[in-house]
Amino acid sequence: MGLAYNTYLNCARIFACNNCKTHLANHDDIISRNFRGQHGKAFLFNTVVNVETGEPNERNMTTGRHIVRDITCRECKKVVGWKYDKAYETSEKYKEGKFILEAMLLCNVS
């Protein structure tokens, strides 16, 4: 494998990893901000870039059982959130395939 290049987003407000400032997601891609993670507030995104996904785990959240994978920043390898693989409740099906990024581990760049 060659050098790993980061993807750069071209929008007005971008969320980036707090540590290394790699672009992660676009502010317009937010679906909802009404989530809570291990470190407080978390946002649900449609798409994120520059992340690597880990192994699937089954977790019990306040909303039910889910299968999630942790996502880590491509450059500094820190966990920035998780991705929903499967939701067992029908009302939570909309989350499948979407990403949660924790607000504590993000910062705003513009």
Binding site: L3, I31, R33, T62
Partner: protein, 671 residues
């Protein structure tokens, strides 16, 4: 007896040259491959092939279609050649079946071999009488400037490709005038390091704009050195993301480019206070300086640059440490040049420092107005987001001292209240962008009493109050009534309700009416971007109201406002683009798309269908078919959750809840 000279064979005495000619024919033939692959282009079979001549010839592609070379121009080698060998068996009617051979093979394949004595209408002149037509090379003859102008239309990647055509092309393509702006942000992933280094070295002193964002391949220090030595006339330089740029290389680059006006060194670990000193000494023309997230420098470096570069207008220093120092603040105060100052995320920035920045050390207080008598700041844009140490005392100092302020960002400065913002809003008539996200202490009166009545209300274009949990209708309604130029409003995660949506729709409708146009049937445009997801009090009825207003505004754009007095005046059509709860977002997007394309009827039908669907869902939820069964299932699900540990995102050991049942509380709804 004719002797073949330079391939121009005289057309006489065919029998004489028959024998030698056949060998020449064989040598020049291209065998048709079973698949038209270009690998066979240019390949010549030797005369000693295992095939006999007859069968050889039968395999040859003998094109019967006239090619431009078959019309024997006297200077053309092959057509003459082919015209001589009438002895070769030919099927003049055979169709051409080698598409890949066109253009290249047409020169080399034997064409249209006919007996010249049967068909000839003209016989070419003898060699000594014939004039040699010189081959023209248009490209060579063109003046250099025109060549450069032609090549200037190519993209950098295409230029590199084209440079391989010939030596002349190579020198022209790498002429410095074509490379004055090297912007690698489109192809940084694809260009290998050597090419990049070569281009920049060749273009060298011509490069004025250099954008190497994301070019990690510059890592190898020798290449970066070469780069730094080559560029001497840079005006704009962006090195964001070149992670391992060496400090010495960076310093060389900065020392040799005195004309630098914009410099973006975001995130580089090589930048230190010493770098800033070098910049202050060698780049006096600097106007924009971005060193956000450079971990190894601090505010003292900023001070050196601010003092050394008198033209500095735009300073972005996000997350730089050391801003509590009062010397830095004083330097910023004394040189009152900055128009844009970004200190986002500087959690060292204290109230005291901010006060000094804005009004200096211990200023004289005007007795009458109780305000400091200092020259006003020239700031147009100020970003202090996430500076958590700031509080009311510091932010309040901005009031009345920044009259030109157009953009203000205070998101995340969680401890400020209304009192800090009131003086600022009152004294900034040009304010267009206001971001106040995540400020839980703000109340509605700030919006209704101060912002809606301020001088800037008529100019405000962008307002963001996301996550301000106390703000709601009473604050936003007056805003929508008074701020008629509003282009985007982010009011998610607040207490606003459907009333606000209706008010926004009414405001847009009025301003569309006020803005008239003489054109009939102009397409509607989305002039207000409203973001209201995660608001508990916004229901589908409010969203429906917005959609129906959108359709109505779009629908009446074809009718003149005053048919009797001025039949040529039509209202323009402006609609709201809404971002709401994800469950309804697809319907909203589809509706907006239909309205924007002008198809109001389809949009109305969609809205009616959606309304019926939502109403049916609501009714079905309480009573109606399957109501009881659904409620029982919901209760069972809630009980199942009550059994399991409340994970809160963390999987707490699996063995805890096997076999253990908690007391059932029927009303417990964990979700």
């Amino acid at each position: 007896m004719s002797v073949p000279v330079d391939g121009v064979v005289e057309n006489e005495g065919l029998a004489n040259i028959k024998k030698g000619g056949r060998h020449r024919l064989l040598r020049g033939l291209q065998r048709m491959a079973s698949s038209p692959s270009l690998a066979h282009v240019g390949r010549q079979r030797s005369a000693s092939s295992p095939y006999s001549t007859h069968s050889t010839l039968s395999c040859v592609s003998l094109a019967s279609s006239p090619s431009p070379f078959a019309q024997a121009s006297p200077g053309s080698y092959f057509s003459h050649f082919s015209a001589d060998h009438s002895s070769a068996p030919t099927t003049p009617g055979s169709p051409v079946e080698s598409p890949g051979y066109d253009g290249i093979e047409t020169i080399l394949a034997v064409r249209k071999i006919e007996h010249p004595l049967l068909h000839s209408t003209s016989i070419s002149l003898p060699l000594d009488v014939k004039k040699k037509v010189a081959r023209t090379n248009m490209w060579e003859k063109m003046p250099h400037e025109i060549k450069i102008h032609i090549l200037s239309f190519l993209l950098p990647k295409e230029l590199v490709r084209v440079s391989r055509v010939s030596k002349d092309f190579h020198t022209t393509c790498f002429d410095g005038q074509l490379w004055t702006s090297f912007d690698a942000s489109e192809f940084y992933k694809e260009i290998p390091a050597e090419s990049m280094a070569k281009i920049i070295v060749t273009a060298g002193p011509f490069v004025k704009d250099l954008n190497l964002r994301g070019c990690v391949q510059v890592e190898h220090y020798k290449r970066a050195e070469v780069l730094a030595k080559a560029c001497r006339n840079l005006i704009n330089a962006t090195l964001e993301g070149c992670r391992n740029f060496q400090r010495t290389t960076l310093h060389t680059l900065l020392k040799s480019n005195e004309k630098l006006a914009t410099l973006n060194l975001t995130g580089l670990t090589a930048v230190t206070n010493a770098t800033c000193k070098i910049i202050a000494q060698s780049c006096p023309q600097l106007e924009m300086f971005n060193v956000s997230w450079c971990k190894h420098m601090d505010a003292r470096g900023i001070k050196t640059v601010v003092e050394g570069c008198p033209k500095l207008k735009d300073l972005r220093a996000g997350e730089i440490k050391g801003f509590e120092s009062s010397e830095v603040a004083n330097a910023l105060f004394k040189t009152n040049n900055l128009e844009r100052l970004v200190l986002a995320g500087c959690d060292d920035l204290s109230d005291n420092a901010l006060q000094i920045m804005v009004r200096g050390f211990d200023p004289e207080i005007d007795v009458l107005t109780d305000r400091p008598m200092v020259p006003p700041r020239k700031l147009r844009h100020l970003d202090l987001s996430r500076c958590t140490r700031l509080s009311n005392n510091g932010v309040k100092a901005l009031g009345y001292l920044v009259p030109d302020l157009e953009g203000l960002q205070l998101s995340g400065v969680t401890s400020i209240t209304d009192a800090a913002l009131e003086p600022i809003i009152a004294s900034t008539p040009r304010l267009t962008h206001l971001e106040l996200e995540d400020l839980p202490e703000l109340t509605n009166s700030l919006l209704s009493e101060h912002l809606a009545k301020a001088a800037c209300a008529s100019n405000l274009e962008h307002l963001s109050i996301s996550y301000c949990e106390n703000l709601g209708d009473t604050g936003m309604l007056p805003i929508f009534r008074n701020c008629t130029k509003l282009k985007s409003a982010f009011i998610d995660n607040t207490r606003v309700s459907d009333l606000v949506l209706a008010e926004a729709a009414a405001m847009v409708r009025e301003r569309a009416t006020a803005k008239t146009t003489t054109q009939k049937g102009v397409k509607p445009v989305a002039s207000l971007n409203l973001v209201v997801y995660d608001c508990q009090n916004v229901t589908w009825t409010g969203v429906r109201e917005v959609l129906s207003r959108n359709a109505e505004i779009a629908g009446r754009r074809n009718k003149p406002i005053q048919p009797t007095t001025n039949p040529n005046l039509y209202p323009s059509a402006e609609i709201i683009s809404l971002k709401c709860f994800y469950g309804w977002q697809m319907t909203v997007d589809e509706h907006t798309k239909r309205v924007l394309s002008g198809d109001v009827g389809a949009a109305n039908r969609l809205e009616r269908k959606w309304a019926l669907y939502m109403q049916a869902n609501e009714e079905a939820g309480v009573t109606g078919a399957n109501g009881r069964r659904r409620r029982r299932r919901a209760r069972e699900a809630a009980q199942a959750h009550a059994d399991e540990e409340d994970g809160d995102g963390v999987n707490t050991g699996g063995g805890v809840f096997t076999g253990r049942r908690r007391a059932r509380t029927a009303a417990c709804a964990i979700m």
